[in-house]
Each structure stands twice: as C-alpha cells, then as structure tokens.
C-alpha cells in the first residue's frame, strides 16, 4: 500500500533538490556587486518617497469593518436569491421551476428580517457618525 506513494515521494524530493541546487549554485557562483541604488526598493520605476511605516488614521479601520458587515450582507443575498423559488413554495417545484404546492412568503420575510437587523445596524452607525470622515 505504502509502495504506491513512492513515485510521489521521489517527485517531491526531486523538485526540492532541483530548486535548492539551482539557488545554491547561484549563491556560490554568481557575482555580487551591490550599490546604494541597487538596494533601493524598486516598484515599477517610481522613486520611493519616505518610509512605508507611516501611521494610518484609525478611521480606515472603522470603514473597513463597516464595509465587511455590508459586504457579507450582499454575500448572503446571493444564495438566498438562487434558492428563492424553493423558499417561497410549500411543496415541490416542477421542471420549469414553477411552484406546484402553495406559495408562501417565508423566503421573503426571512430575508427581510435579516435585512431589518442590518438596517438597524446602519441606522445606529449613521447616528453615531461613524460614516462621517471628519
């Protein structure tokens, strides 16, 4: 049983060995000439301005969290939309996707409860001025 994994093991060893050997050869044989200009961080030809470690306003964090909440809201809407026919039908659907049993408001009401909770959240955030930048 274990023998059948031997090729896979060989492959992993070969891959590691090949990559390692090439890096090692480059390190040993390659010429190293460094200069101040070569050590600079290089991004698409733009010259760096200042340190990357600056203080960000905590407001970015706040906006990111708020974004996350409403992003997830949208993410939940997709599966709900694709299941909407099943959710609003008591009984089976026929091949065309029409409801054979009695139609219900269950799916609609369910999602509106969820949206209602988030709307309360939005109202709260608004009143607390978390949406104002200043």
């Amino acid at each position: 049983m274990a023998e059948s994994y031997l090729p896979a093991l060989l492959f992993v060893l070969f891959a590691l060995g090949f990559a390692g050997a090439n890096l090692g050869i480059a390190m040993v044989l390659g010429p190293k000439r460094t200069s101040a200009i070569k050590d600079e961080p290089f991004e698409c030809g733009s010259e760096p301005i200042g340190s990357p470690r600056v203080k960000f306003s905590v407001k970015f964090y706040q906006v990111a969290i708020l974004f996350l909440v409403f992003d997830i809201e949208v993410a939940f809407l997709y599966p709900w939309a694709s299941l909407f026919r099943e959710l609003s039908c008591e009984g089976a659907l026929n091949v065309a996707g029409a409801c054979v049993g009695t139609p219900t408001l269950f799916g609609l009401v369910e999602m509106f409860i969820f949206l209602g909770v988030l709307t309360i959240g939005l109202a709260y955030v608004w009143r607390k001025r978390a949406l104002d930048w200043a």
Binding site: T104, V109, A123, Y124
Partner: protein, 678 residues
C-alpha cells in the same frame, strides 16, 4: 415577526412560516431579549447623551417582559419533555427555562448598577445595556442548545459582547490589558471548540446532540465497531487471522471514528472548561476579572459561568453517556474529576494570598467551578449505570438514573444560588469606591461596617453563602452536591468530596478575612476614606442578593423542587416519552408531598429549615407558596430579582412588597434571619 401574520392565519397546514412563528413563540424569552437588544441600540443612537436612566429603564423593561414570558413557561407541562424548535437546533425544556430566568435576573442585576458605575468612573458609553442584552442572549442560546452549532453560536454571541464590555473602560490600562488577554485566549479556545466540533462531526456525521449520543454508543460498544475491531486486533496478535491484511484494514476502518472522536471530545471539553475557567485554563481569570469594570466582572462570574455550565451539562452529561467515554482510560469524567480537585484547590489556595478583593473573588469563583464539576462528574457516573459497580437489576438502574437527576438538580441549585451570591458580592465591590478610585484593596475595606452597616451585613450574607454557612443558600448547594456524590461508591467521587470539604474549610479563611476586615478594623480616616457609588442600583442589588440568598436557604424547598423538575430526565432525548415520564413522576412526587408532609424523601434538611421558617418573618411571601406546590413554587425564589427592577414599570406582583422596603432600610429583610444562624 409580525410579518408572519398571513402565514399564521392558515393553521391547517403548519407550513414553514407558521412553524417558524410557532418556534419563535416557544422561544419568546430569548427572542424578546434579542429584539430588545436591537431596540436598545436604537434607543442609544436616537436619544441624547446623558440619558443613562432612560436607557436603564428601557433595558429593565425588556428584561422584565422576557422574565414574564419565561415565568409563564416555567410551570407549563407542555415543555416537560422538552420541545425541539428550529428542527432541533434549540430545545425548550424545564432546565433551559429555569436557567433563562436566572440569567435574566443576573442581567437585570448588572443593568441596575452598570450605568452608575460607568458614570462614576468616567467611561460612560451608550452601548453598555445593548451589549449586556446581547451577552444574555448568547447565554440563553447555550441554555437551549440542541446541536453543537448552537453551542458554538451561543458561546461566540456571549463572548464577543463580553470582550467589548471588559475593555470598555478606555481610561484604564488594566481594562485594555484584560480585554486583550481575554480576547486572545477566548478566540484561541473558540478555535479549539470549532476544531473539536469538526472532529466530532467527522466521526459521527451529525451535529445534533441527541443524535450524536445515539451514534456514539455503537462506536464504543462491544457489539459495535469497537468490539469488531478488538476481535480483529486480538486475532492479529495471536497470529490466528486468516487474512492478516484484511483484518488489519478492517480494524483501522472500524477504529477511525473513535480516533477522531476522542480528540474531538477533549478539544470541546477544553474549550468549555476555558469558558468556566477550570484550572489548567484559568490563567486569564484573575487578570480579566480584576481589569474589567466591576459590573462586567459580576456578569462574567455569574452569567457567563452559568452559560458554560449549561453547555457542559448538555454536552457531557446529556450526550456522552457511553461507559467507555466516561470512565478511564479514555473517559472524560476521570479527566474532569481530577481537574475539579485541582481547580478547587488552586482557586482556594491562590485566593488566600490575595490582598485585592476583586482578585480574591475571581479566584474564589475558580474554586466554585471545582465544586460544580463534582456534580457534573457525579451525574455522569450515575447516568452510565456504573455507580461504583456494574448495575444489572432494573431497580438498580432506576436508582442510578434517579441519583443522576439529583446530581444535575444539585448543580442547577448551586448555579442559581452561586450566581445570586456572586452578583451580590461584586455589586458590593462596585458600590465601594467612586470617581475613578476603586477601593479593591483589602485594607481599604477596614471598618466598612461602621460607615455602611446595611451593605456590610448584606455583603456578609453573600460571602457566607459562598462560604457555605448553614442557613444560607450556598450551604444547601454544597450539601446537595457532596451528598449525591457520596451516594455513589466510586473512589474518584469520594476523593472529590473529601477535597471539596477540605477546600470549603480553606475557603472559609479568606471569606472570613473580608468579613473581619469590614467589622473589626478601624475605618480609614481623612483623605484615605473611601467614597461610595452614587445612585441606588448597587445597594439594591447587594441587599436583594442577600435577601434572596437567605430566602433560598431558609425556604430552600421551592427552588430545590424547581431544580428537580428541571433536572429530571436530563439523560434522555428531548421529547421522548421516557423523559416525560420522569418529569411527570417528579412533579407528582412534589405534589404528593405537598398533601401529606410527613413522607418527604428528599432534602430532609430543607424540611427542617422550612420548619424554622415561621419563626422569622423574612419570607412572609414564601409561606403561602409552600402550600401550593404546583407552579408558583418554582418561581418563588426566582421572581424577586427578575421582577424587582420592574417596579419602574408598575407590573410587579405581590412579591415586590417583600423587596421594595429593602431600599430605604437595607438591613431590614436580611436581619430577621440572623438569629437562627448558629
């Protein structure tokens, strides 16, 4: 919820909408708390700053409504066998209703002084009440949990709100430190919990606790896959297997679920023990309890622990009842039993050395977890029919199950009385100190009894309850736990009881030290003099908690009965006829005892305490209820605290009269009960 209206008007086919509506009504207390937390958030957002009183009133009204809804469910026989709602995701049974009422009372108690405390210490924030309601909602999910997912959801809902409340005191570095520690450790334990749930699901293919308990026993039984694997393994060892490879593969396949299941159980148990802060997982407790604002500490010590124990009862006692899973070498009960001994010892020994009252109470709450775990292990030992030996006769098995129920009832009684007493002590800590200067150092408590005699007396009663002094509730809690554990012949349980009793003595040392400092040291003078919190909230909570502790001790019968009903049939699936039978049997026994008092089988000491009751008028409201054994009895000990805040709302029943005078003359309700104390 109102939008479900059209659905409800066609009851002939209980469609999805109508079913959801019916489930919502079963869960009314919980749903009220959830909806109210949203309303609370809006009330905070749309009211002007500086309206603390208004927000407190809103929160107490919501909690009052929820308490009324829960109290109406308490005596309802419809829930006796347990009702599954949302296809078994949650379960409504007498135990969950009792715990709900307790949580609502604890939350109401916290709301009473949380706002005052925040204002006095200058970290007022409007979300406090909403967060408390959300945390209470989380605990209630745990009380009702019917699946592992509900367990996880409840723990997260509860914890996330509590993390915020722990760190809410933004002008204190210790609070932020506490929040960070609690959050990181808590998030890690949630990770363990999820991993454990995944393993359990992998092993059994179900999240449902009742289903899980049924699928576990074949895994571990001699006739199931365990037995088959053992047969194969033995034949391999003896070299007698006809096809060794096939036998080995069979054994591996048969044992694979077991190999997933045992680590899964360990991970889930570790995560739950973290939440109740049992010993190897208690490191965060002193720091978090000390750094958090005191009302939050009170809520954590009382409600969060209660939620954790509800989860432990459901997961360990209610689900894992296979003998191989309970006893050593693979069993959780052995592990939990040893941890219980370590927990109570470490908690008590560490508490002795504390000079800070808040840390001292934090360690004392760790010690109490140890006592409570004794009841959990005892219940499990009885439920697996191995109380000190293999039971064969039907009546032995019945005896064992009955004792298992009694152990669960003891745990519930202890949880309720511990919650009330802890609430009182922390309310007193919150009361003592104001204007950004907390008086948590023990030397500052010197002579407190001279300055605030009523509060000091109430605090003393709460501490005596935690210590386990006879006429007060804590004593009956400990007595119940230790006695039921001693009924079993098992050596581990006996050792646990021995350590429990020794630890109670050790515990008395530090509780008495606080009392002695309050009464027999000269008070601090000059600018060292401690200021106390403005507002009546904290005072009311301390006094009501003390009164309830005395009431639940002197008139222990009603609460004990409520706990027995709540605990009956814990080992059986919700909604099963056996469970209904057991609950009905307990209800009948209680009703029968009400008719002819002499043949009372349980709780002789409660009887004797009730005999002493007419002598003191501490509990005038309790006497008539002792005669009507059915519904009101269970509510009696619960009502006052849950309802007391409702006086704002004017909906309070007659019980209030017992508590209302407590405010102007704090020592009044507690005092008459002093004489019987030996």
């Amino acid at each position: 919820m109102i939008a479900f209206g059209p659905e409800a008007s066609q009851p002939e086919t209980l469609g999805r909408g109508a079913q959801a509506l019916a489930d919502m009504i079963h869960l009314a207390p919980m749903m009220l708390v959830a909806v109210w937390s949203l309303l609370q958030l809006l009330a905070d957002a749309f009211s002007d700053p500086g309206t603390r009183k208004f927000e407190r009133r809103v929160a107490l009204t919501g909690l009052g409504f929820a308490a009324v809804a829960a109290a109406l469910q308490l005596g309802d026989v419809q829930y006796d066998a347990g009702v599954e709602v949302f296809s078994g995701f949650l379960i409504v049974d007498p135990m969950s209703i009792l715990l709900d009422l307790t949580v609502l009372a604890i939350t109401a108690g916290t709301v009473m002084f949380a706002g005052d405390f925040a204002r006095s210490h200058r970290f007022e924030y409007g979300e406090q009440e909403a967060l408390l309601l959300i945390a209470a909602f989380g605990v209630m999910i745990l009380n009702h949990a019917g699946t592992l997912l509900a367990l996880f959801l409840g723990i997260e809902t509860m914890s996330i709100a509590v993390y915020v409340m722990v760190g809410a005191r933004w002008n204190s570095g210790r609070s932020s430190e506490a929040a960070l520690k609690y959050f990181i450790m808590g998030a890690f334990s949630s990770g363990l919990l999820v991993m454990g749930i995944a393993l359990l699901y992998g092993a059994t293919g179900t999240m449902d606790l009742a289903e899980l308990s049924q699928r576990v026993s074949p895994l571990f039984s001699g006739k199931g896959s365990w037995g088959a694997a053992m047969t194969d393994i033995v034949s391999l060892h003896l070299g007698q297997a006809a096809h060794p490879d096939a036998a080995r593969d069979r054994a591996i396949v048969a044992l694979a679920p077991v190999a997933l299941f045992i680590p899964g159980v360990l991970l889930v148990v570790a995560a739950l023990l973290f939440k109740v802060s049992a010993v190897p997982f208690h490191m965060w407790t002193p720091d978090a309890y000390d750094g958090a604002p005191t009302p939050t500490t009170a809520f954590m010590a009382a409600a969060v622990k209660l939620g954790g124990f509800a989860a432990l009862l459901k997961f360990l006692v209610g689900t894992l009842q296979t003998a191989r899973l309970v006893h050593h070498p693979y069993g959780w009960a052995t592990v939990v039993g040893i941890l219980a001994i370590v927990t109570m010892t470490v908690g008590n020994v560490a508490a002795i050395r504390q000079k800070n009252v808040k840390r001292l109470l934090a360690y004392s709450s760790v010690a109490h977890v140890g006592y409570l775990l004794v009841g959990i292990v005892a219940a499990a030992f009885f439920y697996v029919d191995r109380a000190g030996g293999q039971l064969t006769e039907v009546d032995q098995v019945l005896w064992s199950r009955g004792n298992g129920d009694l152990a669960v009832a003891s745990v519930l009684y202890y949880l309720v009385t511990y919650g009330v007493a802890t609430m009182g002590t922390f309310a007193c800590v919150a009361f003592y100190g104001a204007h950004k200067k907390e008086a948590t150092s023990l030397h500052q408590w010197a002579g407190m009894a001279q300055r605030h005699p009523g509060i000091a007396l109430s605090m003393t009663i709460c501490l005596l309850s935690l210590m386990g002094m006879p006429p007060i509730a804590g004593f009956f809690g400990k007595l119940g736990l230790f006695r039921v554990a001693m009924t079993s012949g098992d050596a581990l349980l006996r050792w646990m009881v021995i350590f429990g009793v020794l630890n109670s003595v050790v515990g008395a040392a530090y509780y008495l030290r606080i009392i002695v400092t309050m009464y027999f040291r000269p008070p601090l003078q000059g600018e060292d003099e401690v200021e106390v919190l403005e507002g009546h909230g904290a005072r009311v909570v301390v006094v009501v908690a003390a009164a309830l502790s005395v009431l639940a001790g002197v008139g222990a019968r009603p609460l004990l009965d409520a706990c027995r009903v709540a605990a009956a049939g814990t080992g059986y699936r919700a909604g099963s006829p056996t469970r209904l039978e057991r609950v009905t049997a307990v209800r009948d026994a209680i009703a029968a005892r009400g008719e002819d008092a002499p043949e009372a089988e349980e709780a002789a000491e409660a009887e004797e305490a009730t005999g002493a009751e007419p002598a003191d008028d501490a509990a005038p409201a309790d006497v008539p209820e002792g005669e009507a054994p059915e519904k009101p009895e269970g509510e009696a000990p619960e009502k006052p605290e849950g309802e007391a805040p409702e006086k704002l709302e004017g909906e309070a029943p007659e019980k209030l009269e017992g508590d209302a005078p407590a405010e102007p003359a704090p020592q009044k309700p507690a005092k008459p009960s002093e004489p019987p104390r030996p």
